[in-house]
Symmetry: C2
Subunit: 460 residues, 2 copies
């Protein structure tokens, strides 16, 4: 619990109106999008300047108060669930785009800027910020960096870490650390910006983020390939990559997901298809035409029943909106939705999809599978009810089986959702005891009292 003296200190720094103590407020920030129990913080703080933010960090450290920074709380692995009795620091008032530099192709932002708003501001200047996590409409860039968020375009354009050129952040003492640069090349000191990417708020608190921008591709074309067989669809993914075509997006949806999404969004998806691939190629218009033609012919060769090419931007956007609605649509069906993101090398997608079907049968569970097939990052989604203990045990066993399969195929536990609290205990399975110890040494050195988002990634 936090002493009254410290609360007074918070109020002195922020003003009373930015220190939230009501139980309702604290409940609001006790959970995120992961299937985990809520944990009530003692206080919720809403700084409006860098200076306030740095002072809060210092006070929390001095008083050993656990501190969890929160953007939009869309985290799927419990990364934003606070420590009992600790403080939640909101970034939603630190939401300024400080600079978009069109000459040198970078932007500087505060952590609370909303991803989609930023992408739109960048696009308005003719530039492109590719990372597009599913939650981009509400997620914040600070959260994206803390989680190394992925998205639909990972295949061709990489993920958030590929766009972080530099960071300014507060260490646990509230001292400012500057790392990286506005330049494409920078080897000045340790690559601390990269260490902070994906560190889930456990090593420091972001103040400013320098993001790389690229020119907007001049052409794009989207299509939908419809299959009567899941395996054919998944083999098509591998075939496209093997032909040296790297689409901007290459998404997969199984029949269960197609029907659920169609029911939810009515965009005219073929509900009788066993699987769909949603493919977009972009780049120079000539390249786009060629790639689109090649992709179409590969799909046909691999046995697609039908291929629909989006005739205009509106038609294209409708399909992508439907795809983005997949999680929301699935979430409506059952009280508990477990969205996994074990990831495999892309050529192993057919094996992984076969394994998911087998796991669904073996544990007698409803698993809808969709996701970023082009980069091997599927989202098997288990629909269940956590209150049903017997079924929940089967869910846990199925998750273990999914992880084992992904690792067996040379993959990884998490492609883009993070380890958080949900997967912490599996970490050693993929890495080594030495890796955990090495990570804990870093954590202990940078946060000796363990106040920065305790319990995430490497456990307590």
């Amino acid at each position: 619990m936090i002493s009254q003296a410290v609360i007074k200190e918070f109020e002195r720094i922020l003003g009373k109106e930015k220190v939230f103590l009501d139980e309702t407020d604290r409940h609001t920030y006790s959970y995120d999008a992961a299937v985990l129990e809520p944990v009530l913080p003692s206080v919720v703080l809403r700084p409006t300047s860098s200076e306030e933010l740095g002072r809060l960090v210092r006070i929390c450290n001095e008083n050993s108060i656990p501190l969890t920074v929160r953007g939009a709380g869309t985290n799927l692995s419990g990364g934003t669930i606070p420590k009992k009795g600790g403080a939640v620091v909101l970034t939603n008032a630190l939401n300024k785009i400080l600079e978009i530099n069109t000459e040198d192709l970078y932007a500087i932002v505060q952590p609370g800027v909303v991803t989609a708003k930023f992408a739109a501001a960048v696009e308005a200047k003719g530039l492109f910020y590719p990372p597009d996590p599913g939650s981009q409409a509400v997620s914040t860039l600070g959260g994206n960096v803390a989680e190394n968020a992925g998205g639909l375009r990972g295949l061709k354009y990489g993920v958030t870490r590929d766009y972080v050129m530099g960071l300014e952040f507060f260490d646990v003492n509230g001292e400012i650390v500057k790392t990286g640069s506005r330049t494409v090349k920078c080897v000045t000191g340790y690559n601390l910006a990269a260490l902070m990417v994906g560190s889930e708020g456990t090593l420091g608190v972001f103040d400013k983020i320098i993001l790389k921008l690229i020119p907007m591709p001049t052409g794009r074309k989207a299509m939908m390939a419809i299959f009567d067989n899941v395996i054919k669809a998944s083999e098509t993914v591998a075939a496209i990559i093997a032909h040296r075509i790297v689409p901007a997006t290459l998404e997969f949806m199984d029949n269960f997901t197609i029907r659920t999404v169609e029911d939810y969004s009515r965009v005219g998806l073929p509900t009788d298809a066993a699987a769909l691939l949603l493919i977009e190629v972009d780049g120079h218009p000539a390249q786009v035409e060629e790639d689109a033609a090649k992709v179409e012919s590969i799909c046909r060769e691999m046995g697609a029943m039908k291929i629909r090419v989006a005739q205009d931007a509106a038609e294209r956007d409708k399909v992508w909106e439907a795809r983005r609605a997949a999680l929301s649509a699935l979430a409506k069906l059952k009280p508990t939705v477990v969205l996994e993101d074990a990831t495999v090398p892309r050529s192993k997608i057919p094996a992984m999809i076969q394994a998911l079907e087998e796991i669904s049968r073996r544990f007698n569970l409803t698993i809808g599978t969709f996701g970023h097939a082009g980069d091997g990052n599927l989202h098997p989604t288990i629909l269940t009810d956590k209150r049903n203990k017997e079924e929940w045990h089967r869910v846990e066993a199925a998750i273990d089986a999914i992880f084992d399969k992904a690792l067996g195929l040379g993959g990884t536990l998490s492609g883009e959702h993070g380890i958080g609290m949900a997967k912490s205990r599996y970490l050693e399975k993929e890495t080594s005891k030495g890796t955990i110890l090495f990570s804990r040494r870093i954590k202990a050195a940078l946060d000796p009292k363990g106040i920065l988002n305790p319990g995430k990634i490497i456990g307590e």
Copy 2:
């Protein structure tokens, strides 16, 4: 000094023939390509397997023996200069390409693989590994990763860190740490691979490196734009980027460099030009044609006297070879050659080039300037003789002035050569006291005895 018992232990593990104690051998590994005094190690070790490598690390730590890993020793900031009395570990027998995976677009290599050999092996399979540091003909991939090596293609394709998907390395205790993945997306645990990139051998010893590969572009076109005025040339660089064209390479050479290179390599460079831009665009053939035409017209508008387009691959290669010879050519002119790599946002290239001319005059020094103008990474090269103390003082003052200017323009101390021993004392100027302390905390936690390449980046 290392005790006889430890030497015996090294010989037991490696065999006598891989433990070098002769003064001649030790001299060979006492220096690198930086302008710094050589430092004699006590022993040079040449492991031939991962197991041997791990055991050497452990023994060095147990016996507090400073350990410097060395690839080809092409380092320009003293990163491979050992600690007096310490051990040098050679990676040249750990030189196997373990896998090139054409389906999933990655490769796994040992640290001693030579960069250019690897790039050629990848190209033979129709794929592309873009990072191309100037020393690629001899440099090793382990060295490239340890230094986050750049090269001519940084502008469009990024630098080494953009291609490191995963690493297995030995921590200071000789325990294996696994980080990253064979998948495009991976957020399993801290981004340790990225922390190791550019850490200059101070945090661990690489065992295996997973590198990202991309499809080879299908078209390319190179041209040379000739200017009678340095500023016009430098403004053209900014104009090209501002037109949203990102060439694969965009190199600058001033008159002094042109004349020196031509004298050295006789490829027909225009020795009366004030400056040259060497530009290559690549991608889809239609894109290449368009971009090349646009670049040509921008160059003309900006006042280029002449533009020569390479008519075939042989002509193109000849120009790039000449460009790559710049350092060697300049190095022949004077006993001491100081190659700097302060880097600025690309729009600041004209200001930087003007500043370099002014600094050259102010300190009465010969400075040849060439380099990767497209990514703001120039290489002002000071020709001098370190034995001339009076001139050397002016050189040091000029280097300070170059750093101050680059930082004043929003740039960085080092784009690609590393901090090593040469720039360690300047680090705080660019970052902050907090940054140095934060970095030292990491170093102390991961290498408590300070045996891993002591004195590099953050000083002793």
